[in-house]
Symmetry: C2
Subunit: 223 residues, 2 copies
Amino acid sequence: LIKLEDIHKDYMLGKVKIQALRGVSLQINTGEMLCFMGSSGCGKSTLLNIIGGIDGATSGKVWYKDQELNRLNDKRLSRWRNQHLGFIFQNFNLVPVLSAYENVEQPLLLGKFSRNERKERVLAMLELVGMSEHIQHRPDQLSGGQRQRVAIARALVTQPEMVLADEPTASLDSTTGQQVLELMQKINETLSTTFVFSTHDYQVTEYAKRIVRLSDGLIEGVA
Amino acid sequence: LIKLEDIHKDYMLGKVKIQALRGVSLQINTGEMLCFMGSSGCGKSTLLNIIGGIDGATSGKVWYKDQELNRLNDKRLSRWRNQHLGFIFQNFNLVPVLSAYENVEQPLLLGKFSRNERKERVLAMLELVGMSEHIQHRPDQLSGGQRQRVAIARALVTQPEMVLADEPTASLDSTTGQQVLELMQKINETLSTTFVFSTHDYQVTEYAKRIVRLSDGLIEGVA
Ligand SMILES: Nc1ncnc2c1ncn2[C@@H]1O[C@H](COP(=O)(O)OP(=O)(O)OP(=O)(O)O)[C@@H](O)[C@H]1O
Ligand SMILES: Nc1ncnc2c1ncn2[C@@H]1O[C@H](COP(=O)(O)OP(=O)(O)OP(=O)(O)O)[C@@H](O)[C@H]1O
Ligand SMILES: [Mg+2]
Ligand SMILES: [Mg+2]
Protein backbone atom coordinates (compact mmCIF):
# COMPACT_ATOMS: atom_id res chain seq x y z
CA LEU A 1 0.00 0.00 0.00
CA ILE A 2 2.78 2.39 1.02
CA LYS A 3 6.45 2.21 0.09
CA LEU A 4 9.13 4.56 1.41
CA GLU A 5 12.51 4.69 -0.38
CA ASP A 6 15.48 6.22 1.45
CA ILE A 7 13.55 9.06 3.07
CA HIS A 8 15.56 11.96 4.49
CA LYS A 9 13.99 14.90 6.32
CA ASP A 10 16.00 17.91 7.42
CA TYR A 11 14.80 20.95 9.33
CA MET A 12 16.79 24.18 9.13
CA LEU A 13 16.97 26.13 12.36
CA GLY A 14 18.86 29.30 11.57
CA LYS A 15 22.21 27.94 10.38
CA VAL A 16 21.83 24.59 12.16
CA LYS A 17 20.49 21.59 10.22
CA ILE A 18 18.46 19.05 12.20
CA GLN A 19 18.38 15.66 10.48
CA ALA A 20 15.04 14.29 11.71
CA LEU A 21 15.09 11.28 9.30
CA ARG A 22 18.36 9.98 7.88
CA GLY A 23 17.43 7.34 5.29
CA VAL A 24 14.25 5.40 6.09
CA SER A 25 13.02 2.67 3.75
CA LEU A 26 9.88 0.74 4.60
CA GLN A 27 6.96 -1.09 3.04
CA ILE A 28 3.47 -1.15 4.58
CA ASN A 29 0.93 -3.69 3.31
CA THR A 30 -2.86 -3.34 3.15
CA GLY A 31 -4.61 -4.37 6.37
CA GLU A 32 -1.49 -4.29 8.52
CA MET A 33 -1.41 -2.89 12.06
CA LEU A 34 2.10 -1.52 12.51
CA CYS A 35 3.66 0.74 15.15
CA PHE A 36 6.72 2.94 15.40
CA MET A 37 8.45 3.12 18.77
CA GLY A 38 11.51 5.01 19.97
CA SER A 39 12.64 7.74 22.33
CA SER A 40 11.25 11.25 22.37
CA GLY A 41 12.72 13.13 19.40
CA CYS A 42 13.75 10.09 17.32
CA GLY A 43 11.52 11.00 14.33
CA LYS A 44 8.19 9.16 14.77
CA SER A 45 5.87 12.12 14.14
CA THR A 46 8.03 13.32 11.25
CA LEU A 47 7.79 9.88 9.62
CA LEU A 48 4.01 9.70 10.07
CA ASN A 49 3.61 13.19 8.58
CA ILE A 50 5.62 12.12 5.50
CA ILE A 51 3.67 8.87 5.04
CA GLY A 52 0.46 10.90 5.21
CA GLY A 53 1.68 13.54 2.75
CA ILE A 54 1.32 16.23 5.45
CA ASP A 55 5.01 17.07 5.16
CA GLY A 56 7.35 16.64 2.20
CA ALA A 57 10.58 14.65 2.47
CA THR A 58 13.87 16.45 1.83
CA SER A 59 14.87 13.51 -0.39
CA GLY A 60 13.62 9.98 -1.14
CA LYS A 61 10.32 8.71 -2.57
CA VAL A 62 6.92 7.98 -1.07
CA TRP A 63 4.69 5.59 -3.05
CA TYR A 64 0.97 5.05 -2.44
CA LYS A 65 0.17 2.00 -4.59
CA ASP A 66 1.73 3.03 -7.91
CA GLN A 67 1.35 6.76 -7.32
CA GLU A 68 4.36 8.83 -6.22
CA LEU A 69 3.02 11.19 -3.53
CA ASN A 70 5.78 13.76 -3.99
CA ARG A 71 4.49 14.43 -7.50
CA LEU A 72 1.05 15.56 -6.41
CA ASN A 73 0.41 19.27 -5.97
CA ASP A 74 -1.04 20.50 -2.68
CA LYS A 75 -4.64 20.50 -3.88
CA ARG A 76 -4.53 16.92 -5.20
CA LEU A 77 -2.60 15.81 -2.11
CA SER A 78 -5.23 17.13 0.30
CA ARG A 79 -7.99 15.55 -1.79
CA TRP A 80 -6.08 12.24 -1.72
CA ARG A 81 -5.79 12.54 2.08
CA ASN A 82 -9.50 13.28 2.52
CA GLN A 83 -10.47 10.27 0.39
CA HIS A 84 -8.02 7.70 1.73
CA LEU A 85 -6.58 8.76 5.07
CA GLY A 86 -7.55 9.35 8.67
CA PHE A 87 -4.99 11.23 10.78
CA ILE A 88 -4.85 11.39 14.60
CA PHE A 89 -2.36 14.13 15.51
CA GLN A 90 -0.20 14.03 18.63
CA ASN A 91 -1.72 17.31 19.83
CA PHE A 92 -5.17 16.39 18.45
CA ASN A 93 -5.50 19.55 16.25
CA LEU A 94 -9.21 20.01 16.93
CA VAL A 95 -10.88 23.20 15.69
CA PRO A 96 -11.35 25.27 18.91
CA VAL A 97 -14.55 27.07 17.88
CA LEU A 98 -16.39 23.92 16.79
CA SER A 99 -18.17 21.44 19.08
CA ALA A 100 -17.09 17.79 19.35
CA TYR A 101 -19.94 16.92 16.93
CA GLU A 102 -18.86 19.53 14.37
CA ASN A 103 -15.19 18.53 14.64
CA VAL A 104 -16.03 14.89 13.87
CA GLU A 105 -18.40 15.90 11.06
CA GLN A 106 -15.80 18.08 9.32
CA PRO A 107 -14.11 15.43 7.07
CA LEU A 108 -17.54 14.20 5.95
CA LEU A 109 -18.45 17.69 4.65
CA LEU A 110 -15.75 17.29 1.98
CA GLY A 111 -17.26 13.99 0.80
CA LYS A 112 -20.61 13.14 -0.77
CA PHE A 113 -22.74 12.33 2.30
CA SER A 114 -26.30 13.44 2.95
CA ARG A 115 -27.07 15.35 6.14
CA ASN A 116 -28.73 12.29 7.68
CA GLU A 117 -25.86 10.01 6.75
CA ARG A 118 -23.41 12.45 8.32
CA LYS A 119 -25.45 12.65 11.52
CA GLU A 120 -25.72 8.87 11.77
CA ARG A 121 -21.99 8.34 11.31
CA VAL A 122 -20.91 11.15 13.66
CA LEU A 123 -23.19 10.02 16.49
CA ALA A 124 -22.24 6.35 16.03
CA MET A 125 -18.51 7.15 16.12
CA LEU A 126 -18.77 9.42 19.18
CA GLU A 127 -20.71 6.64 20.91
CA LEU A 128 -17.99 4.10 20.03
CA VAL A 129 -15.27 6.26 21.67
CA GLY A 130 -17.45 6.87 24.76
CA MET A 131 -18.18 10.53 24.10
CA SER A 132 -21.97 10.59 23.59
CA GLU A 133 -22.48 12.86 26.60
CA HIS A 134 -20.12 15.54 25.36
CA ILE A 135 -21.12 16.12 21.71
CA GLN A 136 -21.91 19.82 22.24
CA HIS A 137 -18.68 20.55 24.15
CA ARG A 138 -15.97 22.64 22.51
CA PRO A 139 -12.37 21.41 22.94
CA ASP A 140 -11.65 23.84 25.80
CA GLN A 141 -14.58 22.35 27.70
CA LEU A 142 -13.20 18.84 27.47
CA SER A 143 -10.52 16.98 29.42
CA GLY A 144 -7.27 15.99 27.65
CA GLY A 145 -8.36 12.41 27.10
CA GLN A 146 -11.81 13.51 25.95
CA ARG A 147 -10.21 15.74 23.28
CA GLN A 148 -8.07 12.83 22.18
CA ARG A 149 -11.12 10.61 21.76
CA VAL A 150 -12.86 13.26 19.64
CA ALA A 151 -9.73 13.38 17.44
CA ILE A 152 -9.87 9.58 17.12
CA ALA A 153 -13.56 9.66 16.16
CA ARG A 154 -12.83 12.32 13.54
CA ALA A 155 -10.11 10.16 11.93
CA LEU A 156 -12.32 7.04 11.77
CA VAL A 157 -15.66 8.59 10.71
CA THR A 158 -14.86 8.56 6.96
CA GLN A 159 -13.91 4.84 7.13
CA PRO A 160 -10.55 5.62 5.48
CA GLU A 161 -8.33 3.05 3.83
CA MET A 162 -5.43 3.94 6.16
CA VAL A 163 -5.29 5.55 9.61
CA LEU A 164 -2.11 7.22 10.90
CA ALA A 165 -2.34 7.54 14.69
CA ASP A 166 0.36 9.54 16.52
CA GLU A 167 0.41 8.35 20.16
CA PRO A 168 -3.40 7.78 20.17
CA THR A 169 -3.54 6.57 23.79
CA ALA A 170 -1.10 9.08 25.40
CA SER A 171 -3.82 10.94 27.33
CA LEU A 172 -6.04 7.94 28.06
CA ASP A 173 -6.22 5.70 31.13
CA SER A 174 -5.58 2.04 30.35
CA THR A 175 -9.28 1.03 30.32
CA THR A 176 -10.28 3.82 27.93
CA GLY A 177 -7.11 3.18 25.89
CA GLN A 178 -8.03 -0.48 25.54
CA GLN A 179 -11.59 0.47 24.48
CA VAL A 180 -10.16 2.61 21.66
CA LEU A 181 -7.65 -0.07 20.57
CA GLU A 182 -10.41 -2.73 20.53
CA LEU A 183 -12.45 -0.42 18.29
CA MET A 184 -9.53 0.04 15.88
CA GLN A 185 -8.87 -3.70 15.82
CA LYS A 186 -12.51 -4.33 14.95
CA ILE A 187 -12.37 -1.78 12.14
CA ASN A 188 -9.17 -3.42 10.89
CA GLU A 189 -10.83 -6.86 10.87
CA THR A 190 -14.11 -5.79 9.26
CA LEU A 191 -12.92 -3.17 6.77
CA SER A 192 -9.23 -4.19 6.29
CA THR A 193 -8.25 -0.67 7.29
CA THR A 194 -4.47 -0.28 7.58
CA PHE A 195 -3.29 1.25 10.88
CA VAL A 196 0.10 2.87 11.45
CA PHE A 197 0.70 3.99 15.05
CA SER A 198 3.47 5.80 16.82
CA THR A 199 3.50 5.08 20.53
CA HIS A 200 5.26 4.91 23.89
CA ASP A 201 2.44 2.74 25.27
CA TYR A 202 3.15 -0.98 25.38
CA GLN A 203 -0.58 -1.71 25.39
CA VAL A 204 -0.66 -0.60 21.73
CA THR A 205 1.83 -3.34 20.84
CA GLU A 206 -0.72 -5.96 21.90
CA TYR A 207 -2.77 -4.80 18.89
CA ALA A 208 -0.09 -3.57 16.44
CA LYS A 209 1.92 -6.77 16.09
CA ARG A 210 4.68 -5.39 13.85
CA ILE A 211 6.97 -3.00 15.73
CA VAL A 212 9.43 -0.77 13.86
CA ARG A 213 11.93 0.85 16.22
CA LEU A 214 13.33 4.25 15.30
CA SER A 215 16.43 5.77 16.79
CA ASP A 216 17.86 9.14 15.80
CA GLY A 217 16.07 9.23 12.45
CA LEU A 218 16.92 5.66 11.40
CA ILE A 219 15.12 2.32 11.61
CA GLU A 220 16.83 0.23 14.25
CA GLY A 221 15.31 -3.14 13.55
CA VAL A 222 12.03 -4.75 12.52
CA ALA A 223 10.42 -7.03 15.14
CA LEU B 1 0.76 22.20 53.47
CA ILE B 2 -2.53 22.02 51.54
CA LYS B 3 -5.96 21.18 52.89
CA LEU B 4 -9.08 20.79 50.76
CA GLU B 5 -12.49 20.84 52.47
CA ASP B 6 -15.52 19.49 50.59
CA ILE B 7 -14.54 20.91 47.20
CA HIS B 8 -17.23 21.08 44.52
CA LYS B 9 -16.59 22.29 40.97
CA ASP B 10 -19.38 22.74 38.46
CA TYR B 11 -19.12 23.83 34.84
CA MET B 12 -22.15 25.28 33.11
CA LEU B 13 -22.57 24.28 29.48
CA GLY B 14 -25.59 26.17 28.22
CA LYS B 15 -28.32 24.84 30.51
CA VAL B 16 -26.50 21.65 31.42
CA LYS B 17 -24.44 21.55 34.65
CA ILE B 18 -21.34 19.34 34.61
CA GLN B 19 -20.27 18.37 38.12
CA ALA B 20 -16.52 17.88 37.65
CA LEU B 21 -15.82 17.58 41.42
CA ARG B 22 -18.55 16.49 43.82
CA GLY B 23 -17.14 16.91 47.34
CA VAL B 24 -13.37 16.30 47.58
CA SER B 25 -11.60 16.58 50.94
CA LEU B 26 -7.89 15.94 51.16
CA GLN B 27 -4.76 16.89 53.07
CA ILE B 28 -1.30 17.10 51.47
CA ASN B 29 1.78 17.27 53.71
CA THR B 30 5.09 19.00 53.02
CA GLY B 31 7.57 16.81 51.13
CA GLU B 32 4.99 14.25 49.99
CA MET B 33 4.94 12.72 46.51
CA LEU B 34 1.29 12.00 45.79
CA CYS B 35 -0.57 11.10 42.61
CA PHE B 36 -4.16 11.21 41.41
CA MET B 37 -5.30 8.41 39.11
CA GLY B 38 -8.62 7.68 37.43
CA SER B 39 -10.29 7.42 34.05
CA SER B 40 -10.29 10.14 31.44
CA GLY B 41 -12.80 12.81 32.53
CA CYS B 42 -12.94 11.89 36.25
CA GLY B 43 -11.69 15.32 37.44
CA LYS B 44 -7.87 15.08 37.88
CA SER B 45 -6.93 18.24 35.98
CA THR B 46 -9.81 20.16 37.57
CA LEU B 47 -8.57 19.15 41.03
CA LEU B 48 -4.96 20.13 40.27
CA ASN B 49 -6.12 23.50 38.93
CA ILE B 50 -8.03 24.16 42.17
CA ILE B 51 -5.12 23.12 44.40
CA GLY B 52 -2.88 25.48 42.42
CA GLY B 53 -5.34 28.38 42.59
CA ILE B 54 -5.59 28.40 38.77
CA ASP B 55 -9.35 27.78 38.98
CA GLY B 56 -11.76 28.63 41.75
CA ALA B 57 -13.97 26.01 43.38
CA THR B 58 -17.76 26.38 43.13
CA SER B 59 -17.92 25.63 46.88
CA GLY B 60 -15.59 24.32 49.61
CA LYS B 61 -12.31 25.69 50.98
CA VAL B 62 -8.69 25.46 49.90
CA TRP B 63 -6.08 26.10 52.60
CA TYR B 64 -2.38 26.71 51.96
CA LYS B 65 -0.83 26.53 55.46
CA ASP B 66 -3.16 28.83 57.39
CA GLN B 67 -4.10 30.96 54.41
CA GLU B 68 -7.44 30.42 52.65
CA LEU B 69 -6.68 30.61 48.93
CA ASN B 70 -10.21 31.56 47.92
CA ARG B 71 -9.80 34.84 49.84
CA LEU B 72 -6.90 36.07 47.74
CA ASN B 73 -7.61 38.37 44.82
CA ASP B 74 -6.25 37.48 41.40
CA LYS B 75 -3.12 39.60 41.74
CA ARG B 76 -2.08 38.18 45.11
CA LEU B 77 -2.99 34.68 43.93
CA SER B 78 -0.70 34.86 40.90
CA ARG B 79 2.11 36.28 43.07
CA TRP B 80 1.58 33.41 45.53
CA ARG B 81 1.76 30.95 42.61
CA ASN B 82 4.95 32.49 41.25
CA GLN B 83 6.64 32.35 44.65
CA HIS B 84 5.55 28.90 45.81
CA LEU B 85 4.34 26.80 42.91
CA GLY B 86 5.57 25.10 39.77
CA PHE B 87 2.83 23.93 37.35
CA ILE B 88 3.22 21.41 34.51
CA PHE B 89 0.07 21.62 32.38
CA GLN B 90 -1.41 18.66 30.53
CA ASN B 91 -1.04 20.51 27.22
CA PHE B 92 2.27 22.13 28.30
CA ASN B 93 1.07 25.75 27.70
CA LEU B 94 4.40 26.96 26.34
CA VAL B 95 4.58 30.43 24.81
CA PRO B 96 4.73 29.76 21.04
CA VAL B 97 6.86 32.78 20.08
CA LEU B 98 9.54 32.18 22.71
CA SER B 99 12.43 29.72 22.46
CA ALA B 100 12.83 26.81 24.91
CA TYR B 101 15.39 28.93 26.81
CA GLU B 102 13.03 31.93 27.05
CA ASN B 103 10.09 29.75 28.10
CA VAL B 104 12.08 28.26 30.98
CA GLU B 105 13.44 31.69 31.96
CA GLN B 106 9.99 33.30 32.16
CA PRO B 107 9.08 32.49 35.80
CA LEU B 108 12.53 33.74 36.93
CA LEU B 109 11.86 37.16 35.36
CA LEU B 110 9.13 37.72 37.95
CA GLY B 111 11.55 36.95 40.80
CA LYS B 112 14.70 38.72 42.02
CA PHE B 113 17.42 36.91 40.02
CA SER B 114 20.38 38.53 38.28
CA ARG B 115 20.87 37.88 34.57
CA ASN B 116 23.75 35.48 35.27
CA GLU B 117 21.83 33.60 37.93
CA ARG B 118 18.91 33.18 35.52
CA LYS B 119 21.20 31.91 32.76
CA GLU B 120 22.87 29.40 35.09
CA ARG B 121 19.58 28.01 36.35
CA VAL B 122 17.90 27.82 32.92
CA LEU B 123 20.84 26.03 31.29
CA ALA B 124 21.25 23.66 34.26
CA MET B 125 17.55 22.71 34.22
CA LEU B 126 17.41 22.20 30.42
CA GLU B 127 20.49 19.96 30.76
CA LEU B 128 18.79 17.92 33.53
CA VAL B 129 15.75 17.20 31.29
CA GLY B 130 18.01 16.32 28.33
CA MET B 131 17.20 19.36 26.22
CA SER B 132 20.58 21.14 25.97
CA GLU B 133 20.68 20.75 22.20
CA HIS B 134 17.33 22.44 21.62
CA ILE B 135 17.48 25.62 23.69
CA GLN B 136 16.93 27.92 20.72
CA HIS B 137 13.99 25.91 19.33
CA ARG B 138 10.49 27.36 19.50
CA PRO B 139 7.70 24.95 20.58
CA ASP B 140 6.57 24.29 16.98
CA GLN B 141 10.09 23.15 16.17
CA LEU B 142 10.11 20.55 18.92
CA SER B 143 8.65 17.06 19.18
CA GLY B 144 5.76 16.42 21.61
CA GLY B 145 7.98 14.92 24.28
CA GLN B 146 10.56 17.67 23.84
CA ARG B 147 7.87 20.30 24.48
CA GLN B 148 6.80 18.39 27.58
CA ARG B 149 10.35 18.39 28.92
CA VAL B 150 10.65 22.16 28.39
CA ALA B 151 7.41 22.56 30.38
CA ILE B 152 8.88 20.41 33.16
CA ALA B 153 12.10 22.47 33.23
CA ARG B 154 10.05 25.67 33.43
CA ALA B 155 8.11 24.36 36.46
CA LEU B 156 11.25 23.31 38.35
CA VAL B 157 13.57 26.23 37.57
CA THR B 158 12.30 28.47 40.41
CA GLN B 159 12.82 25.63 42.95
CA PRO B 160 9.21 25.99 44.11
CA GLU B 161 7.85 24.63 47.38
CA MET B 162 5.23 22.56 45.54
CA VAL B 163 5.02 21.20 41.98
CA LEU B 164 1.69 20.24 40.41
CA ALA B 165 2.34 17.96 37.43
CA ASP B 166 -0.59 17.01 35.17
CA GLU B 167 0.35 13.77 33.36
CA PRO B 168 4.06 14.79 33.16
CA THR B 169 5.19 11.63 31.34
CA ALA B 170 2.28 11.25 28.86
CA SER B 171 4.38 12.14 25.78
CA LEU B 172 7.63 10.54 26.95
CA ASP B 173 9.09 7.09 26.23
CA SER B 174 9.74 5.06 29.35
CA THR B 175 13.49 5.82 29.50
CA THR B 176 13.02 9.58 29.19
CA GLY B 177 10.05 9.38 31.58
CA GLN B 178 12.19 7.63 34.15
CA GLN B 179 14.93 10.26 33.75
CA VAL B 180 12.41 12.99 34.55
CA LEU B 181 10.93 11.09 37.53
CA GLU B 182 14.42 10.43 38.94
CA LEU B 183 15.10 14.18 38.67
CA MET B 184 11.88 15.01 40.54
CA GLN B 185 12.65 12.44 43.21
CA LYS B 186 16.10 13.95 43.73
CA ILE B 187 14.59 17.45 44.04
CA ASN B 188 12.08 16.05 46.53
CA GLU B 189 14.86 14.48 48.63
CA THR B 190 17.23 17.46 48.56
CA LEU B 191 14.79 20.39 48.77
CA SER B 192 11.73 18.70 50.38
CA THR B 193 9.68 19.90 47.41
CA THR B 194 6.11 18.54 47.52
CA PHE B 195 4.97 16.86 44.27
CA VAL B 196 1.35 16.26 43.29
CA PHE B 197 0.93 14.33 40.02
CA SER B 198 -2.01 13.27 37.94
CA THR B 199 -1.21 10.29 35.75
CA HIS B 200 -2.26 7.27 33.71
CA ASP B 201 1.34 5.99 33.76
CA TYR B 202 2.07 3.29 36.32
CA GLN B 203 5.76 4.19 36.22
CA VAL B 204 4.86 7.40 38.11
CA THR B 205 3.47 5.33 40.98
CA GLU B 206 6.94 3.88 41.60
CA TYR B 207 7.92 7.40 42.66
CA ALA B 208 4.64 8.86 44.00
CA LYS B 209 3.95 6.32 46.70
CA ARG B 210 0.57 7.68 47.83
CA ILE B 211 -2.14 7.09 45.20
CA VAL B 212 -5.50 8.87 45.43
CA ARG B 213 -8.04 7.40 43.01
CA LEU B 214 -10.71 9.67 41.58
CA SER B 215 -13.89 8.48 39.95
CA ASP B 216 -16.60 10.79 38.61
CA GLY B 217 -15.48 13.77 40.70
CA LEU B 218 -15.12 11.89 44.00
CA ILE B 219 -12.20 10.27 45.83
CA GLU B 220 -12.61 6.50 45.58
CA GLY B 221 -10.08 5.41 48.13
CA VAL B 222 -6.62 6.23 49.46
CA ALA B 223 -3.95 3.59 48.87
N1 LIG C 1 -14.20 24.35 30.78
C1 LIG C 1 -15.04 23.30 30.92
N2 LIG C 1 -16.35 23.42 30.61
C2 LIG C 1 -17.18 22.38 30.74
N3 LIG C 1 -16.83 21.15 31.18
C3 LIG C 1 -15.55 20.98 31.51
C4 LIG C 1 -14.57 22.02 31.39
N4 LIG C 1 -13.34 21.51 31.77
C5 LIG C 1 -13.57 20.23 32.11
N5 LIG C 1 -14.87 19.91 31.95
C6 LIG C 1 -15.49 18.59 32.23
O1 LIG C 1 -15.17 18.24 33.57
C7 LIG C 1 -14.86 16.84 33.64
C8 LIG C 1 -13.49 16.66 34.29
O2 LIG C 1 -12.49 17.17 33.47
P1 LIG C 1 -10.95 17.00 33.81
O3 LIG C 1 -10.17 17.74 32.76
O4 LIG C 1 -10.66 17.39 35.21
O5 LIG C 1 -10.72 15.43 33.69
P2 LIG C 1 -9.38 14.56 33.78
O6 LIG C 1 -9.55 13.58 34.87
O7 LIG C 1 -8.20 15.46 33.84
O8 LIG C 1 -9.38 13.77 32.40
P3 LIG C 1 -8.15 13.35 31.44
O9 LIG C 1 -7.52 12.15 32.05
O10 LIG C 1 -8.89 13.00 30.14
O11 LIG C 1 -7.23 14.49 31.28
C9 LIG C 1 -14.92 16.29 32.21
O12 LIG C 1 -16.10 15.55 32.03
C10 LIG C 1 -14.93 17.50 31.32
O13 LIG C 1 -15.77 17.32 30.19
N1 LIG D 1 9.49 22.17 12.63
C1 LIG D 1 10.66 21.71 13.11
N2 LIG D 1 11.77 22.49 13.05
C2 LIG D 1 12.95 22.04 13.53
N3 LIG D 1 13.14 20.84 14.10
C3 LIG D 1 12.08 20.03 14.19
C4 LIG D 1 10.79 20.41 13.71
N4 LIG D 1 9.92 19.40 13.95
C5 LIG D 1 10.63 18.42 14.54
N5 LIG D 1 11.92 18.80 14.69
C6 LIG D 1 13.01 18.00 15.27
O1 LIG D 1 13.06 16.74 14.60
C7 LIG D 1 13.29 15.69 15.54
C8 LIG D 1 12.20 14.63 15.41
O2 LIG D 1 10.97 15.16 15.82
P1 LIG D 1 9.66 14.24 15.91
O3 LIG D 1 8.53 15.15 16.29
O4 LIG D 1 9.48 13.45 14.68
O5 LIG D 1 10.01 13.25 17.11
P2 LIG D 1 9.12 12.15 17.83
O6 LIG D 1 9.80 10.85 17.68
O7 LIG D 1 7.72 12.24 17.36
O8 LIG D 1 9.19 12.56 19.35
P3 LIG D 1 8.10 12.51 20.54
O9 LIG D 1 8.05 11.07 20.99
O10 LIG D 1 8.69 13.42 21.57
O11 LIG D 1 6.79 12.99 20.01
C9 LIG D 1 13.33 16.33 16.93
O12 LIG D 1 14.65 16.41 17.40
C10 LIG D 1 12.75 17.70 16.75
O13 LIG D 1 13.41 18.66 17.57
MG1 LIG E 1 5.92 12.83 18.19
MG1 LIG F 1 -6.65 15.93 32.53
